[in-house]
């Protein structure tokens, strides 16, 4: 068996921004003194004039992004999820969501993936907060391939988008020739009939692992990858739930 390739989705984020810069000339990237960690530094190195370091001031950064979008730019705003969705929540709600501006938020180090930094930095609330904002698309990609696809989809989408990226390297699981990404569409990554496991982000790989262990116990689990938390692919989830009669969610 070949070695499993592992890449952190934040790394995918930085690479996608750089790779898409020529195709999306209005793309600008904002960071709050964390370019090395959020990986927007990859973009900064290639396009220094289009990378705006706002210093350690996330609330202002979110407003500056709103203003940039009103001046015709497509800003991708980056920080740790704790600060992008947590500290700047009200700025996202009132300065981005309410006027429905074309601002993209790329939040890294989300959830407990930030790890040893400890609880002050472990933002487990971002998905809940962001999906309450009307019009906000919320995505949580599972691997390198999906993360890059989500960044492209966000740029092609008109309106506010929140994407959550992880800190730790995770296995590439979507390397299939027929892989196609669409905002709002989930995918069945393992078919089964006894129980539905709905997973998002870096937990999809763990869910697949769990399904394999369950199979050894004679339980045939179906695993669904939900990258887009909002709008949710209700059709796919309901169809699977009707089939298995049991749903477990993992995030």
């Amino acid at each position: 068996m070949a070695d499993v390739i592992k890449i952190a989705t934040r790394e995918s984020y930085g690479n996608a921004l750089k790779d898409l810069a020529e195709e999306f000339p209005n793309l600008v990237v904002l960071d709050a003194d964390l370019a090395a960690a959020t990986k927007t530094g990859i973009f900064k190195k290639a396009y220094p004039d289009r990378h705006i370091d706002c210093g350690i001031a996330e609330c202002n950064m979110m407003g500056v992004a709103a203003g940039l979008s009103l001046a015709g730019k497509v800003p991708f705003v980056s920080s740790f999820a704790m600060f992008a969705a947590g500290r700047a929540y009200e700025q996202v709600r009132n300065s981005v969501g309410y006027p429905n501006l074309n601002v993209k938020i790329g939040a890294t180090h989300a959830g407990i993936s930030v790890g040893e930094d400890g609880a002050t930095h472990q933002c487990n609330e971002d998905l809940a907060l962001m999906r309450t904002i009307p019009g906000m698309v919320v995505m949580c990609p599972s691997d390198d391939i999906e993360a890059k696809a989500a960044v492209r989809a966000a740029l092609e989408h008109e309106g506010p988008v929140y994407i959550r990226f992880g800190r730790a390297a995770v296995p590439v699981i979507n390397d299939k020739p027929d892989y196609k990404f669409e905002i709002g569409k989930g995918t069945v990554v393992r078919e089964g009939k006894d129980v539905t496991i709905v997973a998002t982000g870096i937990c999809v790989d763990s869910a697949i692992g769990a399904a394999e262990k369950l199979a050894a116990d004679g339980i045939d689990a179906e695993v669904i990858n939900i990258c887009t938390i909002k709008p949710l692919d209700e059709e796919l989830i309901l169809k699977s739930a009707k089939k298995t009669g049991k749903v477990v969610t993992v995030e």
Binding site: G63, G67, A71, S95
Partner: protein, 280 residues
């Protein structure tokens, strides 16, 4: 437009403010009236705008960071021809497009605002965007003197000063009153001018109710290169309505029918005096 003409327009803007807030039975007349001359100067003299083409790409932008004074902005926009003056009476009413705080779908409104401290950041972002593209659009934003107690204002000021955004003008309406009382008794932001200077702004002190002073200040702002400008305008809260002047109680209270009649009589008297001055 000469000063007398501007004074007449400003008085019309004030009538619109008082009428809108009276009709809504709620709203913020005090800070709308203190800024009425600034609104008038911006929309009738200073900014490159076209009421017939509110989304014109080359337009200058205005962000009302002190969003609660929406009646002042709406009245200026209506009197400038962006929408019917008659619509001011629908302020805050269910189904009206004139909500209590500015929202982005109103003709002539460039940014939603009202949560204090946030408008200035959006204005800074606009100014940066225009600079990056080498465009000549100028950006104006109006803040309350109480509003600058918000930390985000100083995050934005630090950024704008550092980035040398000389297409940005931050106006601080210094009427010295906030809801809970005098700003220097609640949590003093003074000295306002020295603070903005420290953040690399070119600072001008002006008289909010003197069009010569405003004209000179905005001309100086335009001539300033390599720095954003902050114009601190000394104003009278409730200006033009005798019983509202310098009274914090009129920050966010609507006049009843009797008070409305008195207010309109005050403004009619000013209008008559201005007519007389024109004939003299």
């Amino acid at each position: 437009m000469n000063n007398l003409e501007l004074q007449k327009r400003a008085n019309d803007v004030r009538k619109g403010i008082v009428t809108a807030v009276h009709s809504a039975k709620a709203g913020h007349p005090g800070g709308s009236l203190s800024a009425a001359d600034v609104f008038t100067f911006l929309y009738f003299e200073e900014m490159n705008i076209d009421p017939k083409n509110p989304d014109m790409e080359a337009r200058d932008r205005f962000v009302l960071s002190k969003g609660h004074t929406a009646p002042g902005l709406y009245s200026a926009l209506a009197n400038r021809g962006f929408f019917p003056v008659e619509d001011l009476k629908t302020l805050r009413k269910l189904g009206s497009y004139l909500q209590g705080h500015p929202c982005i779908h109103i003709p002539g409104v460039d940014m939603a605002s009202g949560s204090l401290g946030q408008g200035i950041s959006a204005a800074v972002g606009m100014a940066l965007g225009f600079k990056m593209d080498g465009k000549s659009n100028r950006v104006y934003t109006l803040l309350g003197d109480g509003e600058i107690q918000e930390g985000q204002v100083w995050e934005a000021a630090m950024f704008a000063g550092f980035r040398e955004l000389d297409n940005l003008v931050v106006i601080v309406d210094n009427n010295n009153l906030q809801i809970d009382g005098a700003i220097d008794e609640v949590c003093s932001p003074y000295p306002i001018d020295k603070k903005f200077e420290a953040f690399n702004f070119h600072v001008i002190n002006a008289d909010a109710h003197d069009f010569d002073s405003l004209r000179a200040a905005f001309d100086e702002a335009k001539a300033t290169k390599g720095q954003p400008t902050c114009i601190v305008v000394k104003s009278v809260k409730g200006k033009g309505v005798s019983f509202m002047e310098n009274n914090a109680a009129w920050h966010g209270t609507a006049p009843n029918d009797e008070q409305y009649a008195t207010a309109m009589a005050d403004l009619d008297k000013i209008a008559a005096d201005l007519e007389k001055a024109g004939e003299a």
